[in-house]
């Protein structure tokens, strides 16, 4: 169509995907700037970069969600227009989004045929899909019960449904956006086996991730994006995590947390027989015992949804529960009038919630307001009994933003104007500078850039070294293993076991996260 004289010659060894000079701007933000890559057929190609580096925009252009302002897409050497998702599917591209696009109330089969039905009636499509799924399950370890409702499936199985959807549409190029974010290590291993199988069948796979370890493990080549530009494309075998991190951030990054061994003191928090029910009356925490001493970080590992959120929210006074919780030897009110966040703060419990944009801050409010929330009763913030002292709050906000390296350090900006990492720094500054006895921190680095992760981890370790107790909840095993002094693994509302981070490994923790206890099984 373009009259490119080389088209004929390229056909033989044409890359599965070639992008030439792709650019895309949203208003004044240049999300993609003159991006060109080639992905060879039958390879696994990784794309890494910090949040906002433009990876997702680029893949959305490939899947027809956005149209590029400039540039060309070639699929198997042929210039291809991708104005919508239908066109992407026709071009043989399948996409597995980070947040699955499944209908929870449908069966697996219904989800697979949706949009790819063979005719106006469902019956023929359903029986055809049933057969195709059987074949795919056999060929690629993609077993899922075709008649199960999606909402009853585990996250790992739901992801398989997404892959099956793409394969059912005969995709030969598969794009996966942050595919392991919600998986246990075991499930991730299984996914990688599936992907290798697909690769062996000649499929081309693109993985977007921020996890360097996965890039090193599964990809053949890797491209690094920074600020909308493709900064490098290298063979995975010829690079290292350190080099990739440096390429992503643009400076040297310390991947491991530097910390000295803990010197635990007296017990700060003691939890006995804690139980929590959610608003539907389902028991989420089913009797937990744990303790944290001064100068110690206890990490709670587990797949999301196994009661960690409820645990941290009860301790933070957001949910109600039953059992005994002692803070500095004094019982906390778990279900009565003093079981709220304000009473907890008065007792020296600071809380950096998991869902930072809903519970941690008000996005439409300014940074200086967000830096005072939860402590607005502090006399230092008040001129007299009625009026607040905005000047004092503003002064304090400036200092906190400087000490926590919040960028840009402008207190009058709205919360939503800051990146995820800087939002988290605002919340950490607010909670840590109150000098709490116990810091509850949930998913401290979810959606946070590598550079900011380093800073946040350093601050948490500093608090520990100052003799405070820290309860860390995270679904990132790497984070749990590098920050914690002790690790407790939660599964189905219970603590499956406690391990010393120096004497365990991902494999063992992964089994515990999946509810398998080696010690009792052996």
């Amino acid at each position: 169509m373009t009259g490119d004289t080389n088209v004929g010659r390229q056909e033989t060894a044409a890359p599965a995907i070639e992008l030439r000079g792709i650019s895309k701007a949203f208003g004044s933000v240049q999300a993609n700037k003159d991006i060109s890559i080639k992905v060879a057929r039958g390879t696994i190609h990784g794309i890494i970069g910090e949040n906002g580096a433009g990876k997702s925009t680029l893949m959305s252009i490939l899947y027809g969600f956005y149209r590029a302002d400039a540039g060309e897409i070639l699929i198997h050497g042929r210039p291809t227009q991708i104005p919508d998702s239908q066109a992407a599917i026709r071009a043989g591209i399948g996409m597995v989004f980070q947040h699955f696009k499944l209908v929870n109330t449908f069966t697996v089969l219904e989800n697979v045929i949706l949009g790819a039905e063979d005719g106006p009636l469902l019956r023929p499509s359903l029986s055809k899909a049933r057969k195709v799924l059987q074949d795919l399950a056999r060929d690629y370890e993609l077993d899922v019960d075709p008649d199960a409702l999606v909402e009853d499936l585990s996250v790992g199985h739901q992801q398989r449904v997404e892959i099956l959807k793409a394969l059912y549409r005969q995709a030969d190029i598969l794009i996966l956006d942050e595919p392991t974010g919600v998986l246990t290590p075991d499930e991730a291993d299984h996914l990688f086996r599936i992907l290798r199988g697909l690769k062996d069948q000649g499929k081309t796979i693109i993985i977007i991730t921020h996890k360097l370890r996965e890039i090193m493990e599964i990809t053949d080549t890797v491209s690094v994006m920074r600020r909308g530009q493709m900064t490098a494309t290298v063979k995975t075998a010829e690079t290292s995590p350190e080099q990739l991190a440096e390429l992503m951030v643009g400076r040297k990054v310390l991947l491991d947390v530097a910390k000295t061994p803990a010197t635990p003191g007296r017990t700060i928090l003691e939890v006995k027989g804690l139980r929590v029910r959610d608003e539907h009356g389902v028991e989420r925490v089913k009797g937990i015992d744990l303790h944290i001493r001064a100068g110690e970080i206890l990490g709670i590992a587990g797949v999301a949804g196994n009661g960690q959120s409820e645990l941290i929210e009860v301790l933070g006074g957001i949910m109600k529960g039953s059992g005994t919780v002692l803070l500095n030897g004094e019982p906390l009110d778990l279900s009565g009038r003093a079981s709220d966040a304000e009473s907890r703060r008065e007792k020296g419990v600071a809380h950096v919630p998991e869902d930072r944009q809903h519970l941690g801050m008000i996005l439409d409010f300014t940074a200086w307001e967000n830096l005072a929330f939860g402590y607005q009763g502090d006399p230092a913030y008040h001129r007299n009994a009625i009026l607040m002292d905005n000047d004092a709050m503003m002064q304090e906000a400036l200092g906190k933003m400087e000490r926590f390296d919040v960028r840009p350090p402008i207190p009058t900006l709205q919360g939503k104007s800051f990146s995820g990492g800087n939002q988290q720094k605002i919340i950490l500054a607010r909670e840590i500078e109150r000098n709490p006895d116990l810091l509850l921190v949930g998913q401290p680095t979810r959606g946070v850039d590598i550079g900011a992760i380093e800073f946040i981890h350093k601050r948490i370790v500093e608090l520990r070294d100052a003799g405070k107790a820290v309860l860390l909840v995270s679904v990132e095993l790497d984070e749990i293993m590098s920050l914690s002094d002790r690790i407790a693994v939660m599964f189905d509302g219970r603590i499956m076991g406690e391990r010393d981070p120096d004497q365990t490994n991902e494999r063992e923790l992964g089994l515990l996260m999946a509810g398998v206890d080696n010690e009792t099984a052996a």
Binding site: A88, F97, Q98, T105, I113, L114, G115, P120, S125, K165
Partner: protein, 322 residues
């Protein structure tokens, strides 16, 4: 209560349930696609007025019904534009359209006929006339079932049978066709439909159009079946009752039939205070009986009757995002 009286009440039940059933199924299509429609009432009212006026001039009830469907579709398209294209608040759009319909129907009827906002009485071919089903008289002599067939099943106007047929048809469309699969999907998770390469907006517009057609039939039945002409606010909250029935029915077609029959039964009872007095041996004031369907509506909306599971994406405009 004797058998003849029971049959009379059941006969009224079916007649009174018909507009509710049509409106309830109308709402089902829209809400299953993720567009809440509180404006069933307004669409019925507009359709009733258009049917009354056009049936009067043309002398043909079917021409009138077509006009009613047209009027209802205009309202449906406006609601679609507001909720789908412009991503507005669906409740506000629906309420606004109800107000518009309430005013504009009386205004137009008054301007056209000058009879205090009514349309002139319809008769003959300008009304829906009862259809006697085959063998109704012959089978009428069979004990028990015969009279049931003759008095309750037979002898209704065409739209009653259309409404009844719409129930299995809707079930079949929802669960056996490609369109139904996509319709249910778009109301649960529009992103799943979008990423499968199907247009969310087109699907939702089609559902809203079906809602318009069914509301048009409901309004036409009000003006030319149940009554003989349009009168101000003649729908009397039936659009809201249909919404309550839809929630009661948990957005399922067969349960919609059951729910609207229940509401129709209560309305039929209100027409026969004498029967209640004889059966229960107490005298209930007529206004209290009239209020029964509305009281049940409130009870349903309070959620006393099981936990409803509305389409999960209902009420939210779809914004493409990753």
């Amino acid at each position: 209560m004797d058998y003849a009286t029971l049959l009379q009440i059941l006969d009224s039940t079916l007649r009174l349930a018909t507009p509710l059933l049509l409106a309830c199924l109308a709402g089902l299509y829209s809400e299953r696609s993720g567009i809440f429609d509180i404006g069933l009432e307004g669409k019925m009212l507009a359709a009733a007025m258009a049917t009354g006026a056009v049936a009067f001039y043309s002398g043909n009830v079917w021409v009138g019904a077509l006009a009613g469907i047209g009027a209802s579709l205009v309202f449906a398209v406006v609601h679609g534009l507001a909720s789908i294209t412009f991503r507005g608040n669906q409740l506000i759009s629906g309420v606004a359209l109800n107000f518009v319909a309430s005013g504009i129907t009386v205004l137009i009827a008054q301007a056209m006929f000058g009879q205090g906002g009514r349309t002139p009485p319809l008769d003959g071919a300008a009304r829906f006339n009862p259809i006697t089903l085959p063998f109704a008289d012959a089978l009428g002599t069979v004990p028990v079932l015969g009279p049931l067939y003759r008095e309750v099943i037979s002898g209704h106007t065409a739209l009653v049978y259309v409404a009844l047929a719409a129930v299995p048809l809707t079930w079949w469309v929802l669960y056996r066709t490609r369109y139904g699969l996509r319709l249910r999907a778009v109301g649960e998770n529009p992103a799943s439909v979008d990423t499968a390469g199907v247009s969310v907006a087109r699907l939702r517009y089609s559902a809203v159009a079906i809602t318009g057609i069914l509301c048009g039939l409901a309004g036409a039945y009000m003006a030319a079946g149940l009554q003989a002409g349009f009168g101000r606010e003649m729908t009397a909250g039936r659009g809201y009752i249909a919404l309550a029935a839809l929630i009661f029915a948990n957005w399922l077609p067969w349960r919609a039939l059951a729910a609207t029959l229940l509401f129709g039964f209560l309305q039929a009872l209100a027409l026969r205070p004498d029967v209640i007095e004889r059966t229960l041996q107490i005298s209930i004031p007529v206004p209290a009986l009239d209020a029964l369907p509305y009281v049940l509506t409130i009870i349903v909306l309070f959620g006393f009757v099981g936990k409803p599971q509305p389409p999960r994406a209902g009420g939210e405009p779809y914004v493409k995002e990753r």
